[in-house]
Amino acid sequence: MASPFFLVIVAKMGSPDQITSALKAWATAKFGGDADIVGAKRLSGGASQETWAFDVVSGGAATPCILRRAPGGTPVPATSHAIGLPMEAKLISAAAEAGVPVPAVLGVMGSDSAIGDAYIMSRIAGETLGRKILRDEEFAAARPRLSAQCGKALAGIHSIPLGSLPDLPANDGVSQLDRYDEIYRSFDLPRPVFELALAWLRDTAPEPAQQVLVHGDFRLGNLMVDAEGLASVLDWELAHIGDPREDIAWLCVNSWRFGHSENRVGGFGPLDELLDAYAAAGGQRFREQDIDWWEIMGSLKWGIMCMIMYRAYSSGADPSVERAAIGRRVSETEIDLVNLLEGVRARA
């Protein structure tokens, strides 16, 4: 599909030089006329948004920064449920006020700016790669702390008064189920494991909990971790109003345990520690089994998201090998669903 949208992305794709000169105008306005942009470099990994690292050097001091930018500066297509970068920046500021560890937002740019839809934040030192966090000696002292730290951070996010937030999309468990069911069905690629998960989720949907601000992608990969533990909560693009159990369960989904399946929370810790810290920080008191339905929902969602990303390849919208390959990760979520449903059946 040689869509007009695809052509626009190619036309606006930024080189390091283009990004540097576009950032310079912002930096001189904020830091002073001598401000220089040094070492602008696109980071690997991020798929739906571009992430760049750079330093602002002014008055002899360097400020490490991160630029988050829509691909090629163009807002993301309608298939994504991302909230948009300016909104993301607002939420990070609200989270900071609630005591959640987040980077400082330093600047917000609109789609009419030289750089396109974007925001700039301070660059926090630490590691986001799940495999390294779970394996490297450097994080040996951090790992046992992470469950409780994540519980506290989630309680903070979930405590942000909804009245203070800009209009965010709201969706509870059943509306998400409807949405992902519809997307899955639109692909016409039958997957019996997904059918069974969809049917089971529909039959056993829990009563909705009180609605809160849900981060929407709170998991290893989006958490900056240093030697002390959780340093910063990143990647707010899927935030919405919804069920607090969604965030807790998403962190438990096996896809984010990076091989350490034995530790239900993120591959690093036990769920009861997270739930205790969550309640101690003012959150609702959940039991471990309250998280089960949402964890199955989480694995199903990730499986369908992988199908969506593969669809970007098969439609021609994104010809990268990464997008092709992710279609062969759907079966990872299928085995997780089989394992989870086996557990449910054994307990029934």
């Binding site: 470099k41 696109r42 980071l43 690997s44 990994g45 039958p190 997957r191 019996p192 494991v193 059918e195 069974l196 969809l198 049917a199 089971w200 096996n254 345990r257 990076f258 091989g259 350490h260 399946s261 990268s320 090998v321 990464e322 092709a324 390959a325 062969r328 990760r329 079966s331 990872e332 299928e334 085995i335 997780d336 089989v338 394992n339 449903l341 086996e342 449910v344 059946r345 054994a346 029934a348």
Partner: protein, 127 residues
């Protein structure tokens, strides 16, 4: 038709080129994509070896589960299975259903991502 080099040898050669030569000269996003490309070739090699057997086993298991004629095509059988689950005619407690899905998924994942943790969990007896 010649098969020297064979399909497997050709893919191995390209994978080795990516792993031992090309990857080392790449950084950032391109290096990441090179790793993905190498993994894709691993999947293709496993698919060539394992898919024919796995697909016959899946078809036989589907035919038994659905009471269908042996020899019916796998895609129609899977569509039939999906429809029965969706209608509620087959559920988590239907004898043999979860076992069929588990066996099929293990076979698929053994091609797609054989190192995935969920696979080890699936083939390990439960406590």
């Amino acid at each position: 038709m010649h098969d020297a080099p064979s399909t497997k040898e050709l893919i191995e050669a390209v994978k080795r080129f990516i792993d031992e030569t090309a990857s080392k000269q790449l950084t950032g996003h391109a290096a990441f994509h090179a790793r993905v490309a190498s993994n894709v070739l691993g999947t293709v090699m496993r698919e060539l070896e394992q898919r024919p057997g796995a697909e016959s086993a899946e078809a036989a298991s589907l035919a038994t589960l659905l009471g269908a004629d042996a020899g019916a095509d796998t895609d129609s059988l899977n569509r039939d299975l999906c429809a029965r689950i969706r209608s509620g005619a087959m559920t988590l407690s239907t004898p043999g259903l979860l076992e069929h899905l588990k066996t099929t998924t293990i076979a698929q994942l053994s091609i797609d991502q054989p190192n995935y943790s969920g696979l080890a969990r699936a083939v390990t007896p439960r406590r």
